[in-house]
Subunit: 154 residues, 2 copies
DNA sequence: TGGGGCACTATGGGCGTCAATGGGACTAGA
DNA sequence: TCTAGTCCCATTGACGCCCATAGTGCCCCA
């Protein structure tokens, strides 16, 4: 399966390293990459991480904006200044830099959460809090009949 | 028959594994899959489980949402981060992870319940309680004449 | 119609592999 | 020379893969 799915929590060691879950790693390595592109999420205390093509994908969207509009400037700044690369070491670990810690509050453990085309890095507590909120919002929508379960068929 | 019907309770062994009922397994294996997609039910202490196409079906639903709205983000998080794959071993068993135990309260035994296009995993007691409640609700509705049972045929 | 045997499922357990983690040593830059 | 980053290796615990066994239902045949 070539999608990022599920979530795992790993420990940061004394040297500030943390193992990227093997399942996620294999997806990236299958694509032939040894680097990760990380971006601070706009509205969540989490990091969006993926292979280098993640940046490409965002860049493409940026290209569709009017280059003279303020939005394009903002997006470009956001992508290139507020994002960065993370190097995978030989054992599939990355170093948790201040760039990561500041935005996410991560200190001792990291929760890696799948997001289909990429994955996210969270402070375990923040992740749990967000999960609870998301479930509440969706349950509410469901109660209001705004969410219909897709019809089966097989 | 390619529908999930009935319910069975199986034991979790010392290694935390439990056999998926052969009846359910055969439906999934007939489709050529060795993986299961599991999702924590929004309103029940149960897991919704099915073949990978279950995720595809939900993904399709997600595609109908406005990608910039909060609901789309929530749904993606719910589907991709709060859901995950369960691997079937050579004997048709899955390991019951904390991911499952936390949400369902499952510890020693698991009740597998058919749900037509997919099936559910329950703590036996919770399942029994839910079953009783559902029957009561339906009986009440019927008493109020809100439920008409279609005439049987065949 | 009853008995024997076959097929299959659920369950238990051994064992090898791999992932996660910890730590030492080397290198380069300050 | 000291520090930070990298590379490499060791440990351990979890998990996948394999085989064994027991219980059960079904079928066939006498």
């Amino acid at each position: 399966m070539n999608r990022f799915l599920g979530h795992v929590t790993n420990r940061i060691d004394a040297k500030g390293r943390v193992s990227v879950p093997a399942q996620f790693r294999s997806i990236i390595q299958t694509a032939g990459h040894t680097e990760l592109y990380a971006l601070r999420s706009l509205h969540l205390p989490a990091l969006d991480v993926g292979g280098p093509e993640l940046l490409t994908r965002f860049d493409k969207r940026l290209g569709q904006e009017d280059p003279f509009a303020e939005t394009a400037d903002d997006m470009s700044f956001y992508l290139h200044a507020d994002g960065g690369f993370l190097k995978l070491d030989g054992d599939g670990r990355i170093t948790v830099s201040d760039f990561i810690r500041e935005h996410t509050g991560i200190s001792g453990d990291v929760t890696f959460a799948g997001a289909n085309t990429h994955f996210q890095m969270w402070h375990p507590d923040q992740f749990e809090a967000h999960r609870t909120k998301v479930r509440e919002r969706l349950a509410e929508k469901r109660r209001q009949g705004e969410l219909s379960v897709p019809a089966g068929g097989s």
